[in-house]
């Protein structure tokens, strides 16, 4: 058989998308994330490695170190006008309640490992493990993903994936009472015998999440593809945010700052639709839509549009816009006059109803055949008032 130009391309292109990812490379990135009002600021260096072992095995490893500092808005105590009760001067003048930023500093280390095995028919099995650890949080995730081509030309593949995350959270109670929520839906308090609520000692809580995804990837023509996925996310365990507080009302008048409380189960599912196409020779357009819904009454739509432009052999520009909207969780309320002592309750603005817009741009420059450098900036704005910027910079080296 004569090896002509077309055959060569054929052999090279016989490799599907997956093989293209299966190159040998190392990347080093630095990401800087900042929020308005001196809220959260994160500096995150990260590194990744992709390595082919033979023709049928690929190993990917990555590591990121987050240095998280800053504040999140939370209900906390401020001063009262005067006091009533047992004698003794009040030293910790914590009377009334206010919703404002509370500072914190933390570091997070996370690492993951993915191993992909390619089969004779070019199907792929990927298994992965991810570990993430912060001072009060540890997470282990294990995943498995199988991609199967349904036709000889490899124009259609189906993907089935499952992952399990096992989280451990260290919790310190905010309220004086320090009682735990019951398992039943009414959310009444129950005792935790092992927990010393008076000293405010930390206790360990766990939560587990199963993520299931099933999808189809279909090549439409020489210059476009479509991807459709259905997913489900099931969580059980301690799903409350231990850093958040709510103000509860007793006998309609008496208020107290207490821990927020979320149900101990969360069932979510949704669909994600992705389309990518090439315009001319050097512009790609990627459109994504995701619909999400869960039993906390949160529904959300995400619409994202990304474009890349290969300006030259060495220079690629990227730009993107993302629109996000969500409804509030059924037990969310921003007011301190709303919650009684018998309900699930959260004033965490991440569970509120809001919209968000992201604008981003990037540039990728190939310094040499093996080395490329990238720089990116993103601007994120929520209708909650949160504004965040992310600057990313990195280098990729092929070997």
């Amino acid at each position: 058989m004569q090896l002509n130009k077309y055959s060569l391309i054929a052999i090279l292109a016989l490799s599907n998308h997956a093989l293209l990812h299966a190159e040998n490379y190392v990347t080093v990135d630095f990401l800087q994330y900042n929020e308005n009002d001196n809220r959260v600021a994160v500096s995150a260096p990260s590194a990744s490695l992709s390595y082919d072992i033979g023709t049928d095995l690929n190993v990917k490893a990555d590591f990121v170190n987050d240095a998280i500092t800053g504040a999140t808005p939370v209900w906390q105590s401020t001063t009262a006008d005067t006091s009533s009760g047992a004698s003794g001067r009040v030293v910790n003048n914590t009377g009334d309640y206010v919703y404002k930023n509370q500072s914190f500093i933390d570091t997070r280390n996370a690492g993951s490992l993915l191993v992909t095995r390619r089969f004779k028919n070019r199907d792929e099995l990927t298994v992965g493990a991810n570990f993430s650890s912060e001072s009060d949080y540890e997470s282990k995730t294990f995943s498995a993903d199988y991609m199967h081509y349904t036709d000889a030309s490899h124009n259609r593949s189906i993907n089935i994936g499952i992952s399990g995350a096992f989280d451990e959270i260290l919790v310190k109670s905010i309220s004086n009472g320090g009682k735990d929520r019951d398992d039943d839906d009414k959310g009444y308090y129950k005792d935790d015998d092992d927990y010393d609520s008076e000293s405010g000692a930390s206790r360990k809580e766990t939560s587990n999440t199963i993520n299931f995804q099933l999808g189809v990837n279909q090549i439409l023509n020489e210059t476009s593809s479509l991807k459709l996925d259905a997913f489900a996310v099931l969580s059980a365990g301690y799903l409350t945010n231990p850093h958040q507080a709510v103000v509860r009302n007793y006998n309609t008048s008496f208020q107290q700052l207490g821990d927020e409380s979320r149900p101990d189960k969360r069932t979510a599912y949704g669909i994600a639709l992705k389309h990518i196409m090439l315009l001319g020779d050097s512009v790609s357009l990627n459109s994504n839509y995701r619909y999400y819904t869960d039993d906390w009454q949160i529904n959300s739509h995400t619409l994202e549009e990304n474009a890349y432009y290969e300006a030259s052999k060495n220079l690629t520009f990227g730009a993107g816009v993302r629109y996000y909207t969500q409804t509030a969780a059924s037990f969310y309320n921003a007011s301190k006059d709303h919650f009684t002592d018998e309900t699930y309750a959260s004033s965490d603005e991440r569970l509120s109803q809001f919209d968000a817009l992201t604008y981003k741009g990037s540039v990728d420059y190939k310094i040499s055949d093996n080395l490329s450098y990238n720089l990116g900036a993103e601007f994120y704005e929520q209708s909650t008032g949160l504004i965040a910027t992310m600057i990313t910079t990195g280098a990729k080296y092929h070997f």
């Binding site: 090279l12 990347t27 991810n130 993430s132 997470s139 669909i271």
Partner: protein, 72 residues
């Protein structure tokens, strides 16, 4: 229920329609880095996902390979 309807609609599109059969030697464009669903900067996409996970309530739909974090 709405999502299930939407899903079956899309699936029927896949099953019902016949798509153009693209031969291996015609896939040069599809193989370009800018034509991959994940974008060209994996570390950035991954971190973006981490930011959205910590600041928004929705999660899922981007594959099972990612990891967890204490940002709920």
């Amino acid at each position: 229920m709405r999502s299930l309807t939407l899903l079956s609609l899309c699936l029927s599109l896949f099953v019902g329609c016949s798509f153009k059969s693209v031969k291996p030697w015609q896939k040069e464009s599809l193989a370009k880095p800018i034509m991959q669903f994940g974008g060209i900067h994996e570390a950035v996409s991954k971190y973006e996902g981490h930011v959205y996970y910590s600041k928004e309530a929705a999660r899922g739909g981007s594959g099972v390979g990612g990891g967890g974090c204490g940002c709920n």
